[in-house]
Subunit: 276 residues, 7 copies
């Protein structure tokens, strides 16, 4: 498993000008269960796959409310994600208290990115192992950002992260041009379709996914399971057209995360990987 | 025993996006003696196997009262568990003093998880080597959480951790659907049955296990040995149906912790492993 | 990938008197998408290639306004660049508040260089992985500086950094003698021509590049996409004379960054390189 | 002497979830000269073997008075033990000054264990290399605890630690059921018999052992040599029934510390091991 | 490129009593472009070769004014040199403010040397990679010092540092006896001749060198390019007697820095060396 | 010279529960020139061998007065010993100032031992490399302690440390039973005889040894050379009975420090060992 | 050049109880140019060889005035020596200001030794690489001390340190018995003779050595070059009896520092050793 001598310390550059430890942390995002986001001019929808640890437990929460106008979906190290989302919550409260107006989404995203950047430049820390899709609504409209372990952030019309997210991205790319004018309900429908793409033939039910919405006149809220199931039934999504092998192959070629996946599986017999 | 170059430092990511030191700390939980928890709508029962160090000593305590409405059962490094449970006790006292109401269980669990997360992101610390089953009752009802060395936590209907916990988990999975409506005494009975599954044919007596209960109208309390023995006798649990080889085999295949177990045994001749 | 024993720590000199970690950080600049700058006596123009992460996202911003009279274009680690440009912004505000006059460009550039130098002399940090083209106008005229990860800075008439920048540099070297007397619009036109040189046959459109201008009577501003497209159409730049193979070969021989490029590509199958 | 890559740093987990440095520190306890403790309902007796450095010196003290109601016997690194027993003394004084009542034994033992736990979770420290048998009397009766380098503690009816302690443990296990009702003098007698078991045929005299007692109406005190010799004579212990080879063999098989012993002896020609 | 185990840490002595990291930092001075200094009783002249990064940029400044009576020429890591010269400037200002008289040159040189020494005795720093020729005039006359990365300093009649400085040193050694009585203009002429020796056949023009003078009645000033060109023309230096192969050979044998030069060149294909 | 992986860091335990770095520091004591101490009920005598660095120098002082009632003789690293004896002096002064009575010897010895223990539990320090024989007189009589680098201390009737101390120890063991009742002068005589044993046939003169006495009615004082020579002459010690080969052989077998001695000698050609 | 695993860290003991890093620092003293000192009852003379860096420079100063009654000559790392002599100067000033009397020489020497000792017990520092001959006059007479990198100091009648100092030591040992009664001028003469012994046949002139004197009625002063030349002429020292090969051979055998010398010379082709 030896790669090179430049990849064990976050403050060490490789000869080709790369920071491998940051890239490896980005791998942790790819290993997490999938999360997707998409937005119209007025609404943002977040969705994620509920990872079932066991029949005995509730699923691990992957979508968090930050404030009435902001929410976040994570993929990767859940504990890191929880710590970061509490940081966001605290920033929103402080801003609201000081300025008596909601914290602009873009501003929060930059603060979050700076917090991540610091962890890429101190030898006694490690980069966060989590990707965050930040959905928010402010005076400049609806926003969807992706915050990456590297300290970068990007604004998206629609995006998908986590394991098998390539299939969802392919779906979103086919449809995104109509999103800006989509109604809230169409966005939710597309979110459900995109999530189904990541399930590899598993049946889409309200128990395997979580959906959250924020928009004009609608505070950030996570839809309850009944509502989601009703939507699934209504849209007749469930079970129709299983993901084809092509899209799976496309994925393998597309982002090359299948190799890590295999080594992960091989290693699984030795020590259980963290829940990410 | 060499694995790879990414697994000796908690701040080093592997190329596949894993933090091996955190996973190894999770192994310590698997090596500890078993602990189980299960809950109905009104009660939570914790149970653990008493590890006999020697005839001369009392057994090592693995269940601690945190507050009147919260208790904890641990598996793994006992010293780490003791330090964390005292932290929980202190948080409960402070909250009660400030707000004159009991600390909500979920809130305490998040604080505990954050304390664990910090130890996964500092190069001069190590992750805690202990898993905690937190049982509590608050305004939102009875709760059972599992806090993991990774800084994650999960809410469970019923769960088992520690060595040979797979057999208990199998038992709980067969029965958990009826737990929400179970009476307090049925929960205790199921706890005793689940514990027996982890004993590998050893006779279940009140000296090999500890049982604690918290519920509506019942502060967290550890049942005294006579009560437990009376229950065992009443339920006629003891000795009936020894754990079959199948379930043992299932366990070996199921969670693959038998390999570490063997290497642990092989190493035992060299230096005595800690009491976990 | 082993080179030598002197290249993993930024505080270690090689026997030949080199600091390899600083040089490797300079490689990160070469891997970033291209940025160019050029100036006349009265105006400075910055231009950069917009790296398309995905159809779904807006492009990553690489040009930032610092103050009314100063702006910056970056190549390399975007997160580092963002942190540094906010530092610059904050210095400009403080200076303006104290002295009620704009911060001289050269002075800001020296402060920026000193901040970078510190990171080359502390064992627990790493050099910044970003190059900055700083464009500004002050009492002494229009200025264009290049700030390097090593803590050096240089004043230029025109310069290009980032991947495939050699072709743009070649173009600028052929033309730079006329720049001092160029009109604002001629500068913009030359910027567009230079950017096209780095595109390797890709068609130049307003979506693949960003242009910013600062000059006498014109505060630093990023041109909107329509304006840029109009300019491209007006100048009839798009598509005419694709970059020849000669210039590509010249580039490979000229700055030898093709070798790292290849190793980068070979490694790409393993872990996705950061967005730089 | 190479074992594995996980055993040189106290903050590094092994893949099997063990902290080898803590286990190695526990080995130091096994290498120390033997100490034993036993208690009735009213009295606790501590005893230890006096290690003769040389004819010229008094023996190294291994039993310390902490307060009128608490005393301690150590095995392992004497310097670590001395530092810890002074810590205990200081805690007792502070408690007595604040609450005007003696510090409960169990509470002191927990504080001691926490102090030890901290040394197992900081990379720049090492675990203490000493085991402590804490004897005390408080409102809840007579207590005997064993504090281990791992930060664990155990309550015992009777226990023995240090080199060749297995033989003493075997003796104590045969007899411990009658200890709760034993008279003070019978406890002392059993302590002397247990100590003799660890001597491997050496004659038991008052100069090779130290005895201390704490109990109802008797402050913690170390018996003077004449008293001990008188007891030995009275009980006619000395010389009668030399430890048989069987028990030695039993010991070798029982705790497997003979291997370290040999390597220790082999290494003795190189550098003198510390006095432990 | 492995040398030995004593040369990666500045706080590690080699068995022969050498600090290799300090010596390697001194190599950085040898790799920098050449700088020379020479003095009469009343004047000091500094000169350096302008390294042309590119046609597009102004050359990197290597001569800095510190105060009216002090200036400095550097060879080696420019960023380190800039930081140190600002330190000098600040010391001069503070002294002038406190004592209302110029800071004596020798005193400043000692402070500078002490700042360098500290960096040779802390494990988390690195020695500065720059040599400084300090020219100054104070009550005790004209002075020329050389400050070395090792924390040493030397007073010189004339000296040359940087790449190919051996040829200049040879020239200066032939002529230095007449320097004390030289006129200002003769000093400048000798400076130009010495600089030409380092050019290896390249034509001496005002664009390839910078000249600065400080002396009685003349504050430290850098001569403008026209003045220098006029002097070159006047003295008819340019082009006459190209440096012979003998002097080049002499150099190679004399200071043996050609070996590092070659390894430097060989390595150049991999990663661009810093501008020094 | 490689031993194992556990012996380069003072905070690393070996698998057998040893701290090698502490043991190696104890070797430094064995390499120092010999020091001996012996006491009666009323007096303590310290003696040491004067190591002749050169004819040109006075010998290195190895006996220090701490206070009127305490003195110390050292073997090992002289610089460490000097620092520790000044610490002792300062403690005595502070105690005397606060309590207006002399600091009890045993108390000072414990403080000294604790200072040494701290250096065995911090990764960024090293154990002191010096052994101290502390001689003192207080209300409880005359005392002789040995403080070891491990943080241990021992009370002795008589003891010898340093190179070839085994021969002196053998002498002292033959005679120590009469020491408690010895007169001051007999103690001094025995000290001289013991010192002679360590000289390996070298003639005992007042220049090769230093003698100090503290006792009832006699403040700690170092005897002047004339007095010592007079005593040597009076007792007719010098030259009579050279140490036999037997005792030398006994020594080699007895403490096995001859092996390190040889390796030390072999290494001497490379780098001069410190004066210890 | 690999020696062993114990010689790269100043806080690591070797198995034989040596601190190699301290010994290596002592090698730096041996590599420095020679310095000698000698004293009568009333005067102390320091002398050193002036190392000629180049014709162009003044020689490196190796003798420093500390106060009117104290001066110092150094061999080894000049920068370290300069820092230490300024520390001494500052201590003298502070003492004089507080007590209105000169600081006793012995006291200053102890403070200096303690400063050196600290650098041998911290992992993030390195031992000073310089030896100091301290000459001083106080109420107790004239003193000559040698302070070593190990933190030791010695009082000498006469001593020589640095490269080829063995020949000077041999000379001084032949003559030292008459030094106490020597006149000031005889001491100076002997100093010059001793210096000549270190020159290996080079002619002794006033330019190759520096002489300083402190004594009754004569503040510490460095003799000017004319005075020294006059003395050389007067004593007719120069050139008479060149050092014989015998003394050179004696030296090689005597202190074995020729081996490091050779390795030093061999290495010289790689990187220039520091000026020491």
């Amino acid at each position: 498993m030896f790669r090179n001598q430049y990849d064990t310390d976050v403050t060490t550059w490789s000869p080709a000008g790369r920071l491998f430890q940051v890239e490896y942390a980005m791998e942790a995002v790819k290993q997490g269960s999938a999360a997707i986001g998409l937005r119209s001019k007025t609404h943002v929808v977040l969705a994620c796959v509920n990872k079932a640890n066991s029949e005995l437990s509730s699923h691990q929460r992957k979508i968090f409310k930050v404030d009435d106008h902001i929410g976040v979906a994570i993929a990767g190290l859940t504990a890191d994600g929880r710590v970061l989302s509490r940081y966001m919550r605290s920033e929103c409260i402080n801003y609201g208290y000081t300025y008596e107006s909601p914290l602009p989404v873009g501003r929060l995203v930059v603060q979050l990115a700076d917090k991540a950047q610091v962890c890429t430049q101190r030898s006694w820390k490690r980069p966060y192992g989590v990707g965050l899709l930040v959905a928010g609504l402010d005076e400049s409209g609806a926003h969807l950002y992706y915050n990456c372990p590297s300290g970068n952030y990007f604004e998206y019309q629609a995006f998908a992260i986590g394991s098998r997210s390539q299939a969802a991205k392919t779906y979103l790319e086919r449809k995104f041009e109509k999103f800006p004018e989509s109604s809230r309900d169409d966005l939710v429908k597309d979110a459900l379709f995109a999530i189904r793409e990541t399930l590899q033939g598993e049946k889409l039910t309200s128990s395997v996914c979580t959906i959250a919405v924020v928009g004009v006149g609608e505070a950030f809220n996570i839809l309850d399971q009944e509502t989601v199931q009703a939507l699934i039934n209504e849209f007749e999504i469930s079970g129709e057209e299983a993901p084809t092998n092509e899209s799976a192959a496309e994925q393998a070629g597309g982002d090359a995360d299948s190799a890590p996946d295999q080594s992960g599986a091989a290693a699984e017999g030795e020590a259980a990987p963290m829940d990410i």
